[in-house]
């Protein structure tokens, strides 16, 4: 009954059964990906998150295709009156540039982390978090503007009712990710600054960076498929 496994030195070792076996198997020294486990786990989390956002965007595609009401024109809905004229989509464009800039500062923070310049890492991560916070601030402004104009998840004065539900669901979930990311960044920046990673190494900065770049990546798709389409 008892199965056997070859140990690294070539001798056969009996595998344990029952719960002992479950614990032994999951905690055994086996490795598929030659990266730190935290990084592999972050990638797998991001993969699952990809599926969540894809479900939202696919759902949005389906309701937009199937409605017979005219879809509100995002270019007009998200126009902002600046200097006496309506500029289409300007706030969304600024938000896009802010998020890209935050990705740039984050990439540099990762670099300084491996160079073990922890003050620079902390400063760059705080700058990244500030970019993220300003992004969320603009999103709050955008939401309040649309709510004031009568956009609701179940109806809106511009056209197809599905516009509101798609908009609040997709941008809301993305905004939640940015907000969580800001907290995550500030926490890690604080610990970096305190010198917590001097011995363990600065992989955590790269892992945090993966999450942050993913938030930027999702925005690329939302920007193209929701705002520009």
């Amino acid at each position: 009954m008892a199965q056997e496994e070859l140990s690294p030195d070539g001798t056969a070792v009996a595998l344990r059964d029952g719960w002992d076996g479950v614990v032994a198997d999951w905690s055994a020294d086996k490795q598929a990906f030659s990266v730190p486990w935290g990084k592999a786990m972050m990638w797998i989390f991001l993969l699952s998150d990809t599926f969540i956002f894809s479900c939202f965007l696919t759902g949005y595609m389906t309701v937009r295709m199937s409605t017979t009401e005219p879809w509100p024109i995002p270019s007009e809905v998200f126009a902002l009156n600046l200097f006496g004229q309506d500029i289409p989509l300007i706030l969304i464009a600024i938000m896009t540039f802010i998020l890209i800039s935050s990705s740039g500062t984050m990439a540099m923070a990762v670099n300084f982390g491996y160079a073990r310049e922890r003050k620079k890492v902390a400063i760059l991560m705080v700058i990244t978090a500030l970019f993220g916070a300003s992004f969320v601030g603009m999103q709050v402004f955008e939401w309040s503007k649309l709510i004031e104009e009568g956009v609701r998840p179940w109806s809106n004065p511009m056209g197809a009712a599905q516009f509101g539900s798609s908009f609040f669901m997709i941008t809301g979930f993305h905004g939640l990710h940015v907000s969580v990311g800001v907290i995550y960044l500030l926490t890690v920046a604080f610990k970096v600054n305190r010198g917590d990673y001097e011995e363990r190494g600065y992989e955590i900065v790269e892992i945090t960076g993966l999450y942050w770049h993913f938030v930027d990546l999702v925005w690329v798709f939302i920007f193209a498929l929701f705002y520009l389409w």
Partner: protein
């Protein structure tokens, strides 16, 4: 290159990608600003979107330097989402068709 301690690349590379992403974003915004319509609009939006996504994943997220085992484990599963998108596109088209047929102008009145 990829080492056991982590991904180390020159800052200048990140700055170049940063600049490229800015240009690509400006291009996608220009598509809307100059109000391109029809297939040209779709083509440009989708092209810029995939270029930006590719740059972020491969350079900023270091996928270009990872081992193939990790690349395939992460990038292959999302490809199957295209099946979902395809099925839902068919479903969406069908729903529109039935809505026009039964609720659109000229549709037969429902008699009880």
């Amino acid at each position: 290159m990829s080492t056991e301690t982590g991904q180390v690349h020159p800052i200048s590379l990140y700055l170049k990608i940063w600049g490229l992403l800015f240009i690509l974003s400006a291009c996608s915004y220009a598509v809307d600003y100059f109000d391109f319509q029809g297939y040209l609009r779709w083509f440009l939006i989708i092209t810029f979107m995939w270029l930006k996504a590719g740059l972020i994943v491969s350079i900023f997220m270091h996928m270009a330097w990872e081992r193939m085992a990790l690349i395939y484990a992460i990038l292959l599963p999302p490809m199957f989402l295209m099946v979902l998108v395809g099925m839902m596109a068919i479903e969406g088209g069908y729903t529109t068709l039935t809505r026009i047929l039964f609720f659109g102008p000229g549709s037969a009145p429902i008699v009880h």
